[in-house]
Symmetry: C2
Subunit: 204 residues, 2 copies
DNA sequence: GTCTATATTCCGATAGAC
DNA sequence: GTCTATCGGAATATAGAC
């Protein structure tokens, strides 16, 4: 018996794992369809091409992830007692929750690869579909850090993005100790990230 | 007429550019030798395989880069008036200087790709050959930040590495303005990086 | 929708002439 | 050391039977 889910869904799940492990070029459709337990031709039938499959791998996660981020942000944006840490939490926690559900944790690696790829097509796709999320978060940071000039704020957010991508994709040197549960480790990661990023954003 | 340098050197230079642009899998030996103006068979003759060529691309830059970092560190390590910013400067400035010389700036992208690849062979190579550099810098940070526990310090250095890799490989959203010279832009990058990282490392 | 079979292109690597 | 020619295989993609 094949794993659960439709053919499309099984292809997407297998693609996420293999793209994280081997990259977009490194993972072939043959490996991918074999892992999904579907026929080689199924990818082109359901998605049209490998490139379109890549887009759908992003869409599957990012639609929910960024909606969750914006929902969390809307609950605190503009409030008088909101802190920089709160805004960072709204951005980071949805990604953390994602990593609890099965292979979701690997998606952050896929995202990190997309950053490193510098592929214009992919970057335009991400910017066109999810750019408004970053803009809303930036606006809230600007409200909370009025002493920073626009260029200065952009610099700092850019550096936070780097630290965040690095940490969330788990390619740091810190390895989870075997006596720490996966959940506790993720929570610890979030706390370190938030405090570090808040310090970097807020320093005089 | 072919570009300057020996065949080996021209292959290495072309490989650096293409690996940065297209990745290790994405750049083929055919594109690479065509760009270098050498015969397809030259790569296997001079390097043995594509994988060994990748190693040499790293060696060509990292030997000098890390020697320069350690030299800068040795001039300040252990001194009573050394600051966290000084140590960060010792680490970052050599990478900055590298980017002044021709295609050297692209090497930081190659390095960022290596991080994203998660390839064990490559990671072991980097750790075995250049791990001592990170250890010496970590020791100096530990001296300057005695209030931090070892795990806490490792966390923060890891996050700094993420921000640094992100910024130095230039895939941030901040684009250089046309009225700012490349040199001035790099200097500005370094200043932002150092202050940001120092804040993230030192916060209570 | 799923399959087999195949078209076409490209890959890394090497043999052997010069 | 450099070249041509090619091997053996794997890549994406598609045509057409079921």
């Amino acid at each position: 018996m094949n794993s659960s889910g439709s053919t499309k869904e099984r292809i997407l799940a297998a693609a996420e794992v293999l793209f994280a492990q081997r990259g977009f070029d490194g993972a072939s459709l043959r490996q991918l369809t074999a892992a999904a337990g579907v026929n080689l031709a199924a990818v082109n039938y359901h998605f049209g091409s490998k490139e379109k499959l890549v887009e759908q791998v992003f869409r599957r996660r990012l639609d929910a992830l960024n909606a969750s981020r914006l929902a969390a942000l809307s609950r605190i944006a503009g409030a008088p007692d909101t802190s920089v840490e709160d805004v960072l939490d709204a951005y980071i926690r949805p990604a953390l929750d994602l990593s609890h559900d099965g292979s979701g944790s690997l998606f952050m690696r896929v995202l990190a690869r997309a950053f490193a790829e510098h592929d214009d097509t992919l970057r335009q796709f991400l910017s066109a579909n999810y750019g408004h999320v970053m803009r809303q978060f930036t606006a809230e940071f600007a409200r909370l850090l009025p002493q920073l000039s626009k260029p200065e704020l952009y610099w700092r957010i850019d550096l936070v993005t780097g630290a965040l991508t690095h940490a969330m994709s788990g390619f740091g040197m810190i390895q989870r100790k075997s006596d720490v549960s996966e959940h506790a480790h993720r929570e610890q990661t979030a706390q370190h990230l938030i405090r570090f990023a808040a310090a970097g954003l807020s320093h005089p």
